[in-house]
């Protein structure tokens, strides 16, 4: 059987980059093969996927060498960010888009679109604007568009990295609808889920080469299961600081490292905070649905608090109220004992640092160097340069100092946010979905960076859908559900993998 794709000694270098991101890649993909591409963030997995899909260097500027044979007729691609794939104003047209480009009969297309949407259980969304859907629904629309094409090869580039657990599960379930002869090439960090779909795994190495691998998680890259990371670190015996007392293994014996927060100074205090959405077309005083009611929460100096909750529970709204983006109608919020509605804007903004869900929203400059330097204007120039380089090294950004912040990988963008935040000393750090778009390796680095903030005495509050990250990172975990905050019971362990 002739291969659908054959790469022989293929290498690739992005325009302007000194070193190639891929080199000496050999790969053969046959009809029906289901392949996982794995590797660390920034290793070149997505670049390889784009090369296999015939999109690089065709649409992504760079230089390719070696032999590449693409023998498929139809390919479909689902990218990472659901929002950035939307072109048309209705779900029906979105799914039909590629079929229209193929010049298929419109009557046939409508039938095919209806069948696909029904099979994926999203036929009721057909008239909706894709951008009005949740991230999970929007990504299933992208998958529907891909499946409707009946492609020879389906390429998936980290399709669940912006989705919560529930949406990810639904996405993987939907992959079962693929025709057995359809080949699949997937970049995915949820190794356990991927192993149920793929037969083979290949790892993109640090040097840009490709090696056949398996689905076993290793340090810095796992299937998303905390237990898997623990096992991997346990084997290697090099778990990071703070790991032992944060591991949840289900035992009830208390660690000697267990922290008692009661004696610490409260940095953030929320008392009786409520939120109701205004009714459509009415004044804010005529309120509608209650989102949350009478919330009480305290974050103390050196404490890291995670806030979990399903989509739409009000996590980001709560953060919006604490950070002053949304008004406080009922209840009070204190930062360092100051009621935030009674203090001046300058005082208020000097009390906390906010890292938004989209790391790009924080950027200002053309290069990482400038981005880090904007914080250093108040000190001597030479000292500022040294301090900037020190921070860059600490956050692993030294090799990216001349890169445009928007061109960094998702993990690097988040690290740049934290590097900036780290330089601006504030008592409280608020983070909105800090793990969106991050692989497990990047999450481990993020965990360490957040811990370094609390070690310096700051309070950290982050909202997330990532239960595993919250439980392994935060000292205290709350769930916001049905308008109420529920404190999760953490089992403080003695058993550690090391």
């Amino acid at each position: 059987m002739n291969p659908l794709i054959r790469l022989n000694q293929v290498g690739f270098r992005y325009r302007g980059a000194k070193a190639p991101i891929l080199r000496g890649v050999n790969l053969i993909i046959r009809r029906g093969d289901r392949i996982l591409l794995r590797g660390r963030s920034g290793s070149g997995k997505s670049s390889l996927l784009l090369i296999l899909a015939g999109l690089a260097p065709e649409y992504v500027t760079g230089e390719i060498w070696g032999e590449r044979e693409l023998g498929y007729h139809r390919r479909a691609v689902v990218l990472q960010n659901p929002e950035a794939q939307v072109v048309t104003p209705t779900v029906e047209e979105e799914v039909a888009f590629a079929l229209e480009n193929q010049g298929k009969d419109p009557v046939w297309i409508r039938r095919r679109v209806r069948q696909t949407l029904e099979a994926l259980g999203i036929a009721h969304l057909s008239a909706r604007h894709p951008l009005s859907l949740s991230g999970g629904e929007c990504q299933r629309v992208s998958l529907a568009a891909a499946i409707a094409m009946e492609p020879d090869v389906l390429f998936l580039d980290e399709p669940t990295s912006y989705l919560d657990e529930d949406s990810s599960q639904k996405f993987f379930q939907a992959l079962e609808l693929l025709h057995p002869e359809t080949s699949l090439v997937m970049v995915e960090h949820r190794l356990e889920a991927a192993s149920r779909v793929c037969q083979k795994a290949f790892r993109v190495q640090e040097d840009g080469s490709l090696l056949e691998s398996d689905f076993t998680p290793e340090q810095g890259e796992s299937g998303g299961s905390y237990g898997e990371i623990a096992m991997a670190w346990g084997r290697k015996g090099d778990a990071p600081a703070g790991w032992k007392h944060r591991l949840k293994v289900g035992t009830s014996k208390r660690s000697k490292d267990f922290k008692d927060w009661t004696g610490r100074v409260p940095i953030l205090t929320i008392e009786g905070l409520s939120h109701q959405w205004p009714q459509n077309g009415k004044q804010p005083s005529e309120m509608g649905t209650v989102l949350f009611h009478d919330l009480h929460l305290t974050v103390r100096a050196g404490e890291m608090v995670a806030l979990l909750g399903p989509s739409g529970a009000g996590k980001t709204t709560l953060l919006g109220k604490i950070s002053g983006r949304l008004p406080i109608e009922k209840g009070r919020v204190f930062i360092e004992g100051k009621d935030i509605v009674t203090i001046s804007k300058e005082t208020f903004y000097s009390l906390f640092m906010l890292i938004p869900q989209n790391p790009e929203h924080m950027f200002l400059s053309e290069t990482v160097r400038e981005e880090l330097s904007t914080v250093q204007k108040s000190i001597d120039r030479a000292d500022a340069q040294l301090e900037m380089e020190r921070i860059a090294e600490r956050f692993g950004l030294t090799h990216r100092l001349e890169a445009h912040p928007f061109r960094l990988s998702e993990g690097e963008k988040r690290r740049l946010n934290l590097a900036v935040a780290f330089q601006i000393k504030r008592p409280l750090y608020l983070l909105d979905e800090p793990t969106y778009g991050l692989d497990e390796h990047a999450k481990i680095l993020l965990r360490k960076d957040l811990q370094s903030l609390t070690e310096e005495g700051a309070g950290v509050l982050f909202v997330t859908h990532d239960k595993g990250f919250a439980e392994t990172t935060a000292d205290t975990v709350y769930t916001l559900k049905d308008g109420q905050l529920i404190r999760e019971v953490k089992h403080e362990p003695i058993c550690c993998p090391a």
């Binding site: 899909a53 999109l55 065709e58 649409y59 992504v60 390919r75 479909a76 691609v77 990218l79 960010n81 929002e83 950035a84 794939q85 939307v86 072109v87 048309t88 104003p89 029906e92 047209e93 039909a96 888009f97 590629a98 229209e100 480009n101 193929q102 010049g103 298929k104 009969d105 419109p106 297309i109 409508r110 679109v113 604007h129 951008l131 009005s132 568009a145 094409m149 390429f155 950070s323 002053g324 983006r325 804007k345 300058e346 208020f348 903004y349 000097s350 906390f352 640092m353 906010l354 938004p356 989209n358 790009e360 929203h361 924080m362 950027f363 200002l364 928007f406 900036v420 601006i424």
Partner: protein, 240 residues
């Protein structure tokens, strides 16, 4: 979602609206705008269904410019001019231009206009769907700008000049929009936008014989009304 209420092809409505706009742009008398304002209302009734409340509200708000110009002419009349008369003329002219434009905007779904351009005027789908994506991004930009400005305000401790803050936000927003555009472009390429031969559309916007008659009637009525105003001696030509 903005659903089209147009009964005619968006391009036909555009053409007739342009017919109605041209005499108003060339005139500087109070009669021509009034006549074409009325014809514009008739056109709206023929071409589709507009939310009257939204129409009146939008025209009312935008007519504030006309009121300003009226007051300017009344309070500071040019030498040898009747400020009140000139003010009324300017007000009527600007309000008519606003009402015709607003009527078109409220009547026609922008997606339908782009579909019509692709299907009836052979606009390249590459450009057409880029316009779709651009239109999609507008509400996202509004949302993102709010978040960016707030994030920057926090980052800089709420200090700094408002204009500088606005510039900072705009730069971040534009960089993000460019990146978003690149990603959408890649997504379109992945779905074969550049590989098509005879692209089909499941949602078609056809040009029918009714649209042709509608355009001819629009042209005829415009020319007829214009000639009548000319013959009555009421028309005053002034550009600008």
């Amino acid at each position: 979602m903005n659903r089209s209420a147009a009964r005619r092809n968006p391009l036909a409505i555009l053409l007739v609206t342009l017919f109605l706009l041209i005499p108003v742009l060339l005139s500087f008398d109070p009669i021509t705008p009034v006549v074409f304002f009325c014809l514009g209302i008739v056109n709206l009734a023929i071409a589709g269904r507009v939310n009257i409340q939204k129409y009146l509200l939008t025209v009312g708000i935008l007519s504030g410019v006309g009121v300003g110009l009226f007051l300017l002419n009344v309070l500071f009349p040019a030498n040898g001019m009747n400020g009140f008369q000139r003010g009324v003329t300017v007000f009527l002219r600007s309000t008519t231009l606003v009402s015709l434009s607003v009527g078109y905007i409220l009547l026609v779904d922008p997606y339908d206009l782009i579909r019509s351009l692709m299907q009836n005027l052979r606009l390249s789908p590459r450009i057409g769907f880029a316009l779709f994506a651009g239109w999609n991004v507008i509400p996202l930009l509004k949302r993102d700008l709010e978040i960016i400005r707030h994030t920057h305000a926090v980052r800089f401790g709420g200090v700094g000049k408002p204009f500088k803050g606005f510039l900072r936000g705009a730069v971040t927003l534009l960089s993000g929009a460019v990146r978003h555009g690149e990603r959408v472009s890649l997504s379109m390429a992945a779905r074969g936008i550049d590989e098509m031969n005879n692209r089909t559309f499941i949602k078609t916007i056809q040009w029918t014989w009714k649209d042709t008659i509608y355009c001819f009637m629009g042209f005829g009525v415009t020319v007829g009304a214009f000639l009548l105003i000319l013959q009555s001696g009421q028309f005053v030509f002034e550009l600008g």
